[in-house]
Amino acid sequence: MRPNSPGIKTLYKKELSNHQLRENLSKATLQSVQKRNKSFEELDFEYLRNQARQIKLDTLSQLNEYLAQFEDNATKNGCKVFYASTAFNANQYILNVAKSTSSKLIVKSKSMVTEEIELVDFLKKNGIEAVETDLGEYIVQLAGEKPSHITTPAIHKSRYEISNLFHDKLGTENNPNPEFLTLKARQILREQFLKADIGVSGANFLIAETGDVVVVENEGNARLSTSSPRVHIVVTGIEKILPRFSDLRIFLRLLGRSSTGQKLTSYTSILRSPRTKEELDGPDELHIVILDNGRTNLLGTEYQEILHCIRCGACLNVCPVYRKIGGHAYGSVYPGPIGSLVTPLYSDMEKARDLAFASTLCGNCTEVCPVGINIHHHLLTLRNDINKRHKHFVEKFLINQFTMVSLRPKLLSFLGGTARMLSRLQLLNFFLKQWTKERSVPNFPPQSFKKYNRE
């Protein structure tokens, strides 16, 4: 996350004015929400999310112990565990692995953490090519863009736009049939899988008691990335740890349903070690890079539960603001409601000045969060915190005046009367510029209720 990149205030208008984008987003997100709701009908969502929440609370209260346990077990299994405190450390470690194994080509399956550390750009600068193999990520990479959603990175594109993109970049015939497009991508990516020296993946869960890495996906590309190349590197965040293998029965049920409305994703890979003597497939080396990059800032603060997030993307799908502007408008790696918390709190508090306010506080995000993060109330807290750091003088002045007036109800009534007069003289519009561009000024009735009631 670059500190000085443009924020939501400079980006949202352009995205909002893109009619096609709004249509794509609306269609895709409403469909996801519908599927999600249906998939939870057969389960007690509140029970499951409370279980998940308890497990996460316990995990974070002893995070060091669980991480140490994971490292112990993974090392015993033959993996190499590396803790990266910053994005730079993580990138450097991965580059070193690539150099020491004389690797030139990397196949990548989906991972938001690699977006966070901008791994692909970093490798490119160092002469190593990394190809995205998740279909959505592949599309986005081909277009020279960034993912606009945590789990469905190309959600902003229609199949017609993708067909045009393939035509331009790959020379395929213009055919918007999703099957045709998928087959084309598959054909190209197969070759890359076979040629690649390294596979990079994320992790959905790290199991402390066994040292396992759990990866869920739908396309099989993660399984190929983690088993075909000589070297496999897992890049993930410290908060992905779960104490017990049996905890998966809670989290897998919640994750698939919350993100895509699936009972279980098509593939759930549980990776324990590099290839053993008895095995035919699998990498010779398995590295696990566990990233902090600002996450521990949240430990012990009122924001700690934000680390419960399992990156399902449900809060994006239900968010009416996200639905209008899409992920790119947020100007940060993690978009949507959870992104508006994670971005400032991990690394760039300045961004809270706008991100914390880019919400109607409708609370739909909190309602669907499978690990019980009170997302919209945290946004409220963040508003208060950022105002303390950054004095917005005009706003502060107005709020102070309003408070002063409100504490004197008679003065409030008097000013109400003044506004009434101004509205009759058509002078109110001047004070309400932001309101009146596409909205009329409310009609003032002849008198207030209090006045009526007194008479």
């Binding site: 209008k324 508003r383 309003f402 408070t403 409100s406």
Partner: protein, 279 residues
């Protein structure tokens, strides 16, 4: 006479909270709430010194200012029940009302302002932990605070209400009513109890209208775009009126409609109820 006195003695005492913007912009909603509650047998008081609940400051991230308004509000409503031990908050005006914390109620026709008083007042004083007394007051106070439709269904009892009105309406769930106060069925139960009234559900009654208070001026274009979706949903039902428990949503929506030259009816639940009583 005796009957009237006995009704007076056994009737519920309600202290009506009129949100500041309803007082100024929608006095008819305040009037309707007052009349309906009275009709249902409540003894309704309207504390004169009540003011803004503090939500604009709170939602814009100014908790200290919101606290001042919260203290003022609780003092005004609780009157002599506001503990004398909270001395520093009692200076100045004398308490006028006598509020019984075991039997009296604060009721207001706004999910959003009520959510502020019911849920966030305790929160405001909980976080600091420095002022346990105010926290205790806020908790006690919040237990007596009810949103209008919830009060009618859960406290008064729906059987006391019967109305008749030939009208078709759609109901918009305000986010604060729905998700902060968990009010979903109550307004629908009330509407369904009105004979000849037809409730036509929106396709997406639970999606936010886009108002969001401070959001509506910080991101006006997104706010309006969301409002247009809600309006399209409403026009699609071809109902005569869009009804809600929050005038703030309806203020935003009607402002967009009028800007685009469309005249449709937007009404608070209490207004529909009063009309159906035909008194």
């Amino acid at each position: 006479m005796l009957k009237e006195v006995s009704i007076y003695l056994i009737s519920m005492r309600v202290f009506l909270f009129i949100p500041c913007y309803i007082d100024q912009l929608y006095p008819s909603v305040a009037k309707a709430s007052y009349e309906v509650l009275k009709h249902l047998g409540c003894q309704v008081h309207i504390p004169e010194n009540q003011t803004c609940c503090g939500q604009p400051a709170f939602n814009t991230g100014y908790r200290d200012e919101a606290k001042k308004m919260a203290i003022h509000q609780m003092r005004v409503f609780l009157g002599t029940s506001f503990p004398i031990s909270a001395k520093e908050h009692l200076k100045g005006k004398k308490a006028v009302t006598s509020f019984n914390l075991d039997s009296d109620y604060v009721v207001g026709p706004s999910g959003s302002c009520i959510a502020m008083m019911k849920n966030f007042y305790p929160d405001l004083f909980n976080e600091s932990r420095s002022d346990n007394l105010l926290y205790e007051i806020a908790v006690k106070f919040s237990k007596r605070v009810y949103e209008f439709s919830e009060f009618i269904v859960k406290v008064i009892g729906l059987e006391k209400f019967s109305g008749r009105l030939k009208l078709s309406v759609s109901y918009h769930d305000s986010c604060h009513s729905l998700r902060e106060l968990k009010i979903k069925e109550e307004p629908r139960m009330i509407l369904n109890r009105i004979r000849e009234l037809k409730l036509v559900e929106l396709s997406h009654p639970e999606i936010c209208c886009g108002f969001g208070g401070t959001f509506s001026v910080k991101f006006p274009e997104i706010s309006v775009e969301m409002g247009k979706d809600k309006l399209a949903d409403f026009y699609g039902t071809e109902a005569d009126a869009l009804v809600s428990t929050d005038m703030s949503c309806l203020m935003h929506l009607s402002a967009i409609a009028r800007h685009n030259g469309i005249q449709r009816r937007f009404a608070h639940l209490s207004e529909i109820m009063l009309e159906s009583l035909q008194i």
